[in-house]
Amino acid sequence: MSNRPAIVAEGLQKSYGKTQALAGLDLVAEEGRVLGVLGPNGAGKTTAVRILTTLLRPDAGRAEVAGLDVVKHAEELRARIGLTGQYAAVDENLTGFENLKMFGRLYHLSGAVAKRRANELIERFDLVDAAGRVVKTYSGGMRRRLDLAASLIMSPPVLFLDEPTTGLDPRGRLAMWGVIGDLVADGTTVLLTTQYLEEADQLAHQIAVIDHGRVIARGTADELKTQVGGERLEVTVARGSSLDDALPVLSSYGVGEVAVNAEMRRLIVPISNGAQLLPTIVRDLDAAHVGLDDLALRRPTLDDVFLALTGRATAEEPSAEEDSAARRPMVRSNR
């Protein structure tokens, strides 16, 4: 059992009418690790999660979670997985405690055990004061915590988190990352979908980048970032100064070729140790009489990964599947 991957998907396909959501998706998550599934809206992330959590049958391909086939052993599998979706799937008009107890009962725990487990999770997720209030009065972060608690009732060995931090404020996001880290430390296998490279970077041991329903790159966060070129320096040259004067300075510090956008008066160069080099670069630019409108160090964003991998920006991807108004904007800028 021990060396068997906790999640295996092979050649998953799913179409909605003419829209192909999954076009032969392969995924593997090792036991006790976090697999980050990264992709824009409409890439097929949610469809993949729905198939792996038995909510949807694939048109073709097969998948196993915790050693159980997601189609053939769906019933059995449901007791061993937890799912937290994009919006908190808890009842707004029940209290936090009532929600957890109800879900415990629906996992077929006895009333007493369901109650004890609910209280345990309420304590763990810092909801003691709110446990007796209806969920309607909760903040977004509290709702997500309750939702996550609900998916942990059975202490599932495999947990699916579909964009768990979408719509949370930075504090809520950090808290959620903390909880996910704890779960993994405890041996839970996590499949996490996200639109944020930063999030995958923080949490995932392995990342699969997906687009148009198939994996277009996989590796660790560092491997992916190297692929997109890592850190970059962006310089916008003031009017009245010459781009040609700035070019030699930047190419002397860069680790790759300088990209020139004359229209925007912008130069972009891949760089390493940018923070340490920055003061010298500024001095040298000054010495070369280059006036600056803007100067910034950028870490790669999902946009950059996408641009590098597909030659397209993510934001131009409309989606049939995930485009409902309730969803969040596509990509958060990392600037």
């Binding site: 019933e75 919006y87 029940l94 879900f103 077929h108 725990l109 055990v113 304590e123 009732i153 405890d186």
Partner: protein, 273 residues
């Protein structure tokens, strides 16, 4: 807080019971979920009760004097119609509630649990049955206040009540089918209601069908809502008509036979997206 807190401190062994047990137990838990929140959203219950009360008052006092040929006092004639209309309109909340749960992702949560699959629909329809029972009791009291005098035996009244509740349950399943077939909560709302107006008004609910033009009268006298109303009216006023009662029950059972599987099918199709 240490990470081990997330792990359960006791065994989490599910109870082992036959599937049929869970069919009922899970449905009751889902029904409980809806019922416990009724007092928490009082406006919903208040408005769904005020509407039939207004109908009672308006028909009793505004139209009542002008409507003849009922063979009894108008309020006695009216109440059976009001009861039927109330439970039928009330049943529309089944589809709306389910559409709402679907939109909020709750049904996905339920489906990711090892619970009985049927419980989502049966739980909701059962909860609406209980709620409708309450509303019928309220309407009965309002009726008494404005002069409603039921005749005959208490047993017959209970038979009438049973027919009304069966009607409520049957129409809930139609409503569930509609709610699971449309894409939005708003659509569930209007699609669930609109077809009920002709069915409840072009009936024997508020006026004797005799005054209607022939083409309408034929429809009004033979459609199920009229049959149900006539059966209930007979039972409440000590003029039970065995044939009508039999037909009314048959309609309800027939609706259930058709719409329980249809609603389940619509549900399966809807969630498979």
């Amino acid at each position: 807080m240490s990470s081990s807190d997330i792990r359960a401190t006791q065994s989490l062994k599910p109870l082992v019971r036959p599937a049929i047990y869970w069919t009922f137990a899970d449905a009751l838990i889902v029904a409980w979920r809806y019922l416990v929140q009724i007092p928490r959203i009082p406006d919903e219950l208040i408005f769904s009760t005020i509407q039939p009360i207004m109908f009672v008052l308006l028909f009793r006092y505004v139209f009542g004097g002008a409507i003849g040929g009922t063979g009894t006092s108008y309020v006695n004639y009216l109440m059976a119609g009001i009861f039927a209309q109330t439970v039928i309109f009330g049943s529309t909340s089944t589809g709306i509630g389910l559409a709402n749960d679907l939109q909020r992702g709750l049904i996905d949560r339920f489906r990711s649990l090892p619970m009985a699959k049927s419980a989502v629909l049966t739980g909701r329809t059962l909860a609406d049955l209980v709620r409708n029972t309450f509303v019928v009791i309220v309407m009965w009291s309002v009726g008494l206040l404005v002069g409603f005098q039921p005749q005959g035996s208490v047993l017959a009244w209970f038979e009438g009540a049973a027919l009304l509740l069966l009607t409520s349950f049957a129409f809930s399943w139609i409503s569930a089918t509609i709610g699971m077939s449309v894409r939005t909560v708003e659509a569930a709302q209007s699609a669930g209601f609109i077809w009920l107006f002709p069915l409840t008004f072009a009936s024997s609910a508020f006026v004797p069908t005799k005054s209607m033009p022939d083409w309408l009268r034929v429809f009004a006298e033979n459609q199920p809502v009229s049959l149900i109303i006539n059966a209930v009216r007979g039972l409440l006023l000590n003029q039970p008509d065995a044939t009508t009662i039999w037909q009314a029950f048959a309609w309800c059972i027939g609706i259930l036979i058709v719409f329980v599987p249809l609603a389940s099918l619509a549900y399966s199709r809807r969630v498979a997206r």
